[in-house]
Symmetry: C2
């Protein structure tokens, strides 16, 4: 019975959860893989901190790069985070000497995934990252292995629990964005500086990885169109509800005639879609293949959920399951043709705060017609609440499929007409 010696860099919430899970599941993992899987070395900053772990007999490293590059280990687990050193140097050091790596570091993969995959391949070592996307949901394994028979057409998901928590509470309890953000921070679902989550960058990192897995392309986070949820108001969520939609921050990668469109933005999805039902911090990923369409729902973050994904990767390492990091050999990964967002086609929700005077709706409708945009509905109404001035109103437009470009031009024309009182709100619609 050979041992799989695990070197663990990072002993925060996730690292500690992995350590405990390996202890708790030791007998099971041994029975299932034929090997004992054990954390034999760890690297973390503060040795004196009590983490409630029994580290007797575990070698302690101050320097994760030293652990990765010289430790007596069979696999290196990187749970430090950050897209630079020491995480990057440590992962590279392990791979370069042929030690497989398991990482939960989406930022690192989004930035350096191609380079790291090349190192892994050159050394014949696996690079595993189930925990980097959608936490406990096995979407990496699903795309890389379970859907190998499918040509993927589209992958999309709720990939950030913080945003979904905020949007769920806004919609269900009729609260403002800021109240919900504060609540999320109080409960530990959002950071003190929430920018990374609520402005969509975290979702974009995860989407970049999914895109590569789904379409066999080189990870390319820079070509993602990103919009966050900061500007959403309760008025928009209420209007969406009235129209039969829910608003979710989606990451979407889709094959189009002009290339692969990668985008992160608030999206109105029909209420009956499985993904519309996903509430709170839960994540979901939907994959449309040419043979199968799947939706996977589960926890996107948290110590146990992330540890579950890390241990699944260790299970694969232990049983010797081989595979390419992004499914294909690095030299087969295509440079992604970037579909420009201006060419995006779909339906749009447009809310305009307008000056309440005769002819306003007609002006708006004409500008839409000028751009060949067909309207599914146009509704003018007084915004709710006691603070709304009598001389302003909301005009809410729902368009049939059109292009981003046409919508942008129509709105610019309406703004030039001087009938709008504040910045227009635009939310893209996905439907069957």
């Amino acid at each position: 019975m050979s041992e799989l010696k695990v070197g663990l860099a990072g002993l925060g919430t996730v690292g500690a959860a992995v350590f405990r899970m390996l202890e708790r599941r030791a007998a099971e993992l041994e029975a299932r893989t034929g090997r004992t899987v054990k954390a034999t070395a760890v690297a973390a900053r503060d040795r004196t901190r009590d983490r409630g772990l029994n580290l007797d007999g575990v070698t302690w490293y101050e320097d994760p790069v030293a652990l990765a590059g010289t430790g007596d280990i069979d696999v290196f687990v990187e749970l430090m985070g950050g897209d630079g050193d020491p995480a990057k140097a440590a992962v590279a050091a392990a791979l370069d000497r042929g030690i497989p790596v398991v990482t939960a570091n989406k930022a690192l993969l989004a930035k350096c995934g191609l380079d790291l995959a090349r190192r892994a391949e050159a050394a014949g070592a696996g690079l595993h990252f189930e925990a980097a996307v959608a936490g406990g949901i096995p979407i990496v394994k699903t795309l890389r292995e379970a859907l190998a028979g499918n040509a993927i057409e589209r992958v999309s998901g709720i990939l950030n629990g913080t945003c979904n928590y905020i949007l769920t509470r806004m919609a269900e309890e009729k609260l403002s964005f800021h109240v919900c953000l504060t609540e999320a921070q109080r409960l530990g679902y959002a950071e003190a500086d929430p920018t990374f989550d609520i402005d969509g960058f975290d979702t974009a990192h995860k989407l970049a990885i999914l895109t590569s897995l789904a379409f066999g392309t080189q990870v390319d986070a820079d070509s993602i169109y990103v919009e966050g949820i900061r500007q959403l108001t309760l008025a928009d969520l209420d209007a969406a509800d009235d129209l039969g939609y829910r608003v979710k921050l989606l990451g979407v990668a889709v094959k189009t005639d002009t290339g692969i469109e990668q985008r992160v933005h608030p999206t109105m999805v029909p209420k009956h879609w499985p993904i519309a039902q996903v509430s709170g911090v839960t994540n979901a990923v939907a994959v449309d293949g040419d043979a199968v369409a799947l939706t996977l729902v589960g926890p996107g973050a948290g110590g146990d959920a992330t540890a579950s994904a890390v241990v699944a990767d260790l299970f694969d390492v232990a049983r010797g399951a081989q595979g390419f990091a992004f499914g294909l050999p690095v030299d087969r990964l295509q440079k992604a043709e970037r579909a420009p967002m201006q060419r995006h086609e779909g339906g749009y929700y447009i809310r305009l705060a307008v000056v309440n005077k005769p002819g306003t709706a007609a002006t708006i409708a004409r500008r839409m017609a000028d751009e060949q945009i067909s309207l599914e509905s146009i509704v003018q109404r007084r915004p709710g609440g006691t603070t709304s001035a009598a001389d302003t109103a909301h005009v809410i437009l729902i368009t049939y499929a059109t292009t981003e470009e046409a919508v942008r031009r129509a709105i610019a024309a309406i703004e030039a007409d001087g009938v709008v009182a504040s910045l227009p709100q635009v939310i893209r619609i996905e439907k069957d």
Copy 2:
């Protein structure tokens, strides 16, 4: 570049879809596994039938057992179905000479899974069956690999598309069971003899396999409590809707104090559960682990979806990914302690058609109290429609958590009281 020679037994809808998918994805599979994956031999009944497949250069066998036992193949794919020969003999013949097997045959696995897994292990050959449960949903891989770090507490699912189609149409269009069954037959979703699907046996076969994977037990289909959907009426579905539930035919396996409870029956699930939203022929599986709870939604049947699962297994065979058929070595699979259904605990929906006379509700309530059953609600109402006699009414009870035994005794007592006009309807409730 070595070749993986695939022998395919069964060229019906699924077999033909597998053949075509291997052709269509040949280059991708080669890039991803380093091997060419190609159907080189087939066995089917009628050689003259035009299946639209190019079988040039493919060796034809009349006898699938001969293909499995003597063919020049590296893997045997069994898509004939049936829990006896020739499927069983063919699978055994392949395994016994060390040839890995991919099968979609749930009936065979439910009946002979343990024996076949033992043969696979003895010969060091893989036994793969992703397609046998929930079609295109990768639940076997998820339980066997992705959740290796979890102790599983519960697995449940909508595992039969025919039943879910019928229940969805009944609820949405207010149609009777028989009208919907006829529709399902017309559309090819139900067999001419629908017994196997609508009486729950197909779900039970799949559940038996999931239970073994989830809990490390020996496949034991005989210990499953099975109830189908034949007796459900629109009145029940409407009442469920009023109460905030949907009715689904669920297969459920859950770890209890008295052992593993395996049951298949119509179940009321809260509308907001992801599984409640799953409509039509779609399948869904929910897994509760101690670290992660997942729900997977996708197509449970159909040529392409099933082929997708078969090809995923072939992908694993091609890249040499090893694993035990049911996750653990056969001698580590425990004989399942069977939790008797009488001990089942949960909430119940009970509909009684009663004689409409004073004191009926009081009689019923007293019998419930006699069995220590607490009622969440008791509603007496005239059934809808023009045919209901003035002297009958429905009494609908919702209980708090109680036992199957207590409910059965209370109903027997009420029947003995002579106040019920027809057979009582009992639907178990699952909730948070």
